[in-house]
Structure formats: structure tokens, C-alpha cells
């Protein structure tokens, strides 16, 4: 199971999905949201990758691993 977390006013919004048929709807929702958010300037990071591998920026939905955090667009304050 893969988890997509989008930081928002509630803390984060979570979508769980995998490659199986029962989660097809969630997978489509996750893909659409991921691509729309990155297109609007958000940044996504693979986290908790296991085996001591460091977090990593990701731009391709098919490259997502166990857990991904999407940071909405950042601006200078």
C-alpha cells in the first residue's frame, strides 16, 4: 500500500492506494491530485523509504514508493 499525504489546514490529507483493482478509484484520485498539485508549483518528497535511504524529491507518479508528502507551493514570506 502506498500513501500520498498532502499538507493542508487539517494537518494533512491522506490517500492510500496500491496497484490492485479495489483501490483503482483512490489511485486515480491520487494521480490526478499529485499531477495537478505539481503543475501548480507544489513539491513532492518520498519519505520513510526504508533501508536507511534518504528522503528524495519526486516528480513522477509512477516512481512513488511507500509514503510521499506533497508540500503546496512555497513563497517568500
Amino acid at each position: 500500500m502506498k500513501t500520498l499525504r498532502i499538507l493542508d489546514s487539517s494537518g494533512d490529507r491522506v490517500i492510500d492506494f496500491d496497484e490492485t483493482e479495489p483501490t483503482a478509484l483512490a489511485r486515480r484520485e491520487a494521480r490526478a491530485l499529485f499531477e495537478r498539485m505539481l503543475a501548480s508549483g507544489s513539491t513532492a518528497f518520498k519519505v520513510n523509504r526504508g533501508d536507511g535511504r534518504p528522503d528524495e524529491k519526486v516528480t513522477d507518479f509512477s516512481a512513488l514508493e511507500n509514503e510521499t508528502i506533497v508540500v503546496p507551493r512555497v513563497v517568500g514570506g
Binding site: 499538507l7 489546514s9 487539517s10 494537518g11 524529491k57 503546496p72 513563497v75 514570506g77
Partner: protein, 173 residues
């Protein structure tokens, strides 16, 4: 999307010209939004949704949820610093060590130079989410962070920060 944004912008302008205009409800009707749909990230931002999101981001429940996520994403040293000081440090390749403070503006401090950086998320998020976002950017996409962030050259803003930096400096040695 552009149509929606220009729609709410023009209504916002009208609202300030005509205070009796029921901006929120008319925005929702015209945009064809019902129920929670109006809160979607990219559907535009009427005033009520703005204030609701701002309030939610400041709620204790949101902050607790964000704090749990932040704690889970930190390494052992950073988690210890967060528990002891309420903030934590991030090592940035070729740029040194930065301290991320629990506040919303100019909360990233260079422990080498004392300069403060301000890089915020455009959406309303709890402070712990902002700290997590800054950690992820500094550790994995530092060029983006420094390209966006505003920098204040002065050394810290008050005695609390100065003591904190001294304390962190001691624990890092």
C-alpha cells in the same frame, strides 16, 4: 481555473464597493459548488473558505496531527532537539546548519551567520506542517528554498532566540 479565479476576484472587488453583497453564497452558487467541494484546493478562495481554513490550521487538532507527522519524519537527533527546545536543526550541504523555529515568519536561522530566512507555504497549514515542509526542502531541494526565501541579515530577533542559538550551538559541539 482562470475563469473561476477572475470570477471571485471581480466579486471581491464588488464586495468592497458594496458591503451588502453576499459574496460567499453567490460565489458558491455561480461556481456550481455544493457542500465541501468549495473547499477544494484549486477551486478558488471565497472569503468564508479562507477564514475557515485559517481557523482550521490554527486548531489544536490540526496542530497535534501535524506535530505527530513532523515527529515521525525527523531523525533521532532532530526529534530530541524538538522535544528539548521546541525546534530542530537541519544540515544543508555546502550551506551549513539551520535551525527551524516554531513560528510562521523568518523562522529558519543560519547558525553560522545568524541570518533569518522566511519561506512560507501558500496554503494555510499548522506550524508543524510548515516546519516539516522547510525541513524537506532544505534537505532535499535547498536551491528551491533559498531561491524563494526572503533573507533578513540581522542576528536574531530577541533574547529568546539568542539563548536558543547558544544552546543549540553548545549541544551541536
Amino acid at each position: 481555473m482562470i475563469g473561476l479565479r477572475s470570477g471571485w476576484l471581480s466579486r471581491l472587488r464588488r464586495l468592497f464597493r458594496d458591503p451588502d453583497d453576499d459574496f460567499d453564497s453567490r460565489w458558491g452558487e455561480r461556481a456550481g459548488l455544493r457542500g465541501g467541494l468549495g473547499r477544494n484546493l484549486d477551486m478558488g478562495y471565497p472569503i468564508r473558505a479562507w477564514t475557515e481554513q485559517a481557523a482550521a490550521a490554527r486548531s489544536q487538532a490540526s496542530e497535534l496531527r501535524a506535530r505527530r507527522l513532523l515527529s515521525r519524519m525527523l531523525n533521532a537527533d532532530q526529534r530530541r532537539e524538538l522535544q528539548q527546545h521546541g525546534c530542530f536543526t537541519v544540515k544543508v550541504r555546502d550551506r551549513g546548519i539551520f535551525c527551524i523555529l516554531p513560528r510562521s515568519t523568518f523562522n529558519v536561522l543560519s547558525l553560522e551567520t545568524g541570518a533569518a530566512y522566511c519561506c512560507n507555504i501558500e496554503a494555510f497549514v499548522p506550524i508543524s506542517d510548515l516546519m516539516l515542509a522547510q525541513k524537506l526542502l532544505l534537505e532535499n531541494d535547498a536551491d528551491r528554498f533559498f531561491a524563494v526565501a526572503n533573507r533578513r541579515a540581522e542576528v536574531c530577533a530577541g533574547s529568546w532566540e539568542e539563548e536558543l542559538v547558544r544552546s543549540l550551538g553548545r549541544s551541536l559541539r
